[in-house]
């Protein structure tokens, strides 16, 4: 029996990645460096990749490190993971 593969974005409560469409040139370097393989190339050439499996992101930053265009891709931890900092205090 032959089977055709399909993909459906599997939603997650977090959005690890966002793209700046005006900067991203759709080179797919981020897609091909991600060891977790959460991205799929866009069907339209030149467009940002599809984050198909956002929940599987390991938040390593390798995709951002591989991107040749600064600012084209952003990585953000879920809101609950924002570490707090305050101005230094002297007793």
């Amino acid at each position: 029996m032959s089977i055709s593969f399909t993909a459906q974005t599997y939603p997650a409560s977090a959005r690890p990645l966002s793209f700046d469409e005006s900067l991203c040139m759709g080179c797919n370097r981020c897609v091909n460096i991600c060891q977790v393989d959460i991205l799929l190339p866009n069907a339209t050439a030149g467009k940002p990749p599809i984050v198909c499996y956002p929940g599987e992101c390991y938040y390593c930053g390798s995709c951002v490190m591989a991107c040749p265009v600064p600012g084209a891709i952003r990585l953000r931890h879920p809101l609950m993971n924002e570490t707090k900092f305050v101005p230094v205090k002297k007793p």
């Binding site: 593969f5 060891q35 938040y59 570490t83 305050v86 007793p91």
Partner: protein, 644 residues
């Protein structure tokens, strides 16, 4: 929206490949194994599930390289250091691998430098700092007197290793998951003759014939800790590293030890913790940051005798009368002999009126100590360059003006429950001989797949060593036979979920397994409880695995992972049943056998599977003999110049 799969559909296709040395897993250990074998003139294939250039626990970086005892500034001999580790871990330690690490680790760093990785402060950014040797430009962490652990620019390492593999003509198969080992019976016993794999984007099947095979697929995860929504934050190590190597090894009859050991969670578990290294703390990457309480009162550091330290520099020096202290990945609360400077214990701080929350305040540290923690260590450490350094900087954090909050009571960045367990620190794994060979002929292992493994230096040096030994064995053997029925069975197992329509998602099974493991194999264990757990896992295997369903090769890979997690979970429960006593160093508590570390059980208990039956073994702690003598007996070729 349902979309078309963007990659080719290669379902039903099979590629048959042959090589002298087959490496399964392209992390640090796997890359170094492949390099050693290629240098020995062997044809090598690396099978890597992710992308070798950034895959594995050290893919995005790491900041310190432990126990490089042969570096020109180190004052501790490899033997002394390895024996200290063994003693510190009450002999539940991997003496062979630790000695290799202490003896050859620095050679691997020099290799790395040749490949283009950065191991010294070539730009003189830290000239004159107490942790730097101005002649060699090497930089040290922890013990500035004895200088055994180096600060390194680990974010440069994996891309450099990948390039070196290509340069050496190693065939790197990225996006291929190894799924099973093939064995044949010989008069001398079972021998590994190859493996199978699946392309995780196209579904193509691979059959590998190899004279020697090396397992470097890291250690199990997502056994107790699983978050179905934020899967990638469930654990400390990468999403795709869940112990497939352990699972396929166990199915093939490989012998393991210390699988009964697990620790209360220390890192990750989506909801509970913060990004590793992103919170105020004074351990590991952040050693020895200045810590303050809510009022801004500094928290004192003390030496092992409780004497308060007056200067920052003293935090990096042994106590009076102490030769050296131990710190690093697996060192938690060291014995007096090896205990280094530390802030006062939490309970004592509460007694003295220190107020929560605590913070790391780098502004009070000497300028180069601040810069090396925030900017070099946080930056080079795994998962820090973008998600911590860049992200906090963008949010306005300035280490000269701000302090970073701590959570929980220590460096874990969260507080866990007893049943929320992990294989963290130095957990169980494959037991091996002085060649890093498993109990199966032709099969070797390295890195985090070995028992009581820990860090990057360990992975790189054992990888290289296993590559060397596997290559020399390959030269003396021929290819074996892979049974067609084994291949057919494996294909059926692998592809079945694609043919099940709209049934159970892999996440549902992973969630069920981790709930079962928390319930039946949690903090306190006993026979009846463990057996109940085993029965439940067997039911999952019998009745629920056949209902797993998915729609493309990526999801199929995740489905295979959970099938492997199930195999490993069963092995862990079986291993827990085999140890009929409790043990402090193994973090192992049995209510039906409360005696702690009785003499009769102070040894390695091993576990393997033969024809579906569990076989236990008993191996003395010192089975490897005198580490230096035994090493030198077997490595004269390397000592005599093979070290390059």
């Amino acid at each position: 929206m349902e979309r078309q799969w963007p990659y080719e559909n290669q379902l039903g296709q099979e590629e048959v490949l042959r090589c002298d040395v087959l490496v399964l897993g392209g992390g640090l250990a796997g890359c170094y194994a492949a390099i050693a074998a290629a240098r020995a003139g062997q044809s090598v294939i690396v099978v890597e599930k992710g992308a070798t250039a950034r895959s594995g626990a050290a893919g995005s970086g790491f900041d310190h390289w432990e126990v490089a005892c042969t570096n020109p500034c180190c004052k501790i001999s490899p033997k002394e250091m390895a024996e200290a580790f063994i003693d510190e871990q009450d002999h539940y330690s991997n003496g062979i691998a630790h000695y290799i690490e202490c003896r050859e680790g620095y050679d691997r760093l020099l290799d790395m430098e040749r490949f283009g990785g950065k191991i010294r402060d070539t730009e003189d950014e830290f000239k004159g700092a107490a942790f730097r040797d101005d002649e060699t430009k090497l930089m040290f962490a922890y013990d500035y007197e004895n200088r055994y652990t180096l600060r390194v620019w680990g974010s440069t390492f994996k891309p450099a290793l990948y390039q070196e593999l290509l340069r050496l003509g190693v065939r790197v198969l990225d996006r291929v998951e190894a799924t099973a080992l093939f064995t044949e019976e010989t008069p001398a016993g079972k021998r590994c003759v190859g493996a199978s794999g699946m392309q995780v984007r196209t579904g193509k099947f691979y059959r590998f014939y190899a004279k020697s095979t090396i397992l470097t697929m890291s250690r199990p995860a997502r056994i107790w800790l699983f978050h179905p929504d934020l899967v990638g934050l469930s654990e400390f190590r990468p999403t795709q590293s869940i112990g497939s190597g352990h699972a396929m090894g166990f199915r093939a009859g490989v012998e393991f030890t210390m699988m009964e050991k697990s620790v209360k969670g220390e890192f990750s578990a989506a909801g509970r913790s913060f990004p590793p290294y992103s919170t105020g703390n004074n351990h590991n990457t952040w050693y020895a940051a200045t810590m303050v309480d809510a009022r801004g009162v500094e928290i004192p550091y003390v030496d092992r005798d409780g004497n308060e330290l007056k200067t920052v520099l003293e935090r990096y020096l042994p106590a009076k009368g102490q030769k050296f202290f131990l710190k690093g990945g697996v060192i938690d609360e060291p014995k007096y002999e090896y205990r280094g400077p530390e802030t006062l214990p939490f309970e004592e701080l509460m007694r003295r009126g220190y107020q929560l929350p605590f913070y790391a305040d780098l502004s009070r540290m000497p300028e180069e100590e601040r810069r090396v923690i925030w900017g070099m260590m946080v930056g080079e450490e795994g998962k820090t360059k973008i998600p911590v350094l860049q992200s906090l900087t963008e949010r306005g954090f300035d280490p000269e003006k701000d302090m970073l909050q701590s959570y929980g009571t220590g460096w874990q960045s969260a507080a866990f429950l007893a049943q929320e367990r992990q294989l963290f620190g130095a957990p169980g794994g494959i037991i091996h001989d002085w060649d890093l060979k498993t109990n199966l002929d032709g099969l070797y292992a390295a890195g985090d797949q070995l028992f009581a493994s820990d860090c990057c230096g360990f992975a790189a040096s054992t990888g290289y060593y296993a590559g060397r030994k596997a290559a020399s064995a390959a030269k003396k053997t021929d290819f074996g036979q892979i049974s067609e029925s084994d291949v057919a069975k494996e294909k059926e197992r692998l592809y079945a979920p694609l043919y099940v329509e709209d049934d159970m998602d892999w996440r549902e099974l992973n969630m069920a397994i981790s709930k079962a493991m928390q319930n039946y194999c949690g903090g306190i264990k006993c026979k009846d409880l463990l057996l109940e757990g085993l029965h439940l896992l067997e039911k999952y295997e019998r009745e629920d695995v056949p209902t797993l369903s998915c729609k493309n090769p990526h999801e199929l890979m995740r489905t295979h992972e959970v099938m492997d997690i199930l195999t490993v979970s069963k092995m862990i429960i079986q291993a827990c049943l085999l140890r009929e006593s409790s043990s402090k160093p193994l973090c192992f508590e049995r209510s039906d056998f409360p005696a702690m570390d009785p003499a009769k059980d102070r040894h390695f208990i091993t576990i393997r599977q033969e024809n579906g039956k569990i076989i236990a073994g008993h191996v003395p702690h010192d089975y490897y003999g005198d580490i230096e003598e035994e090493y030198e007996k077997r490595n004269q070729d390397y000592i005599g110049g093979g070290a390059q």
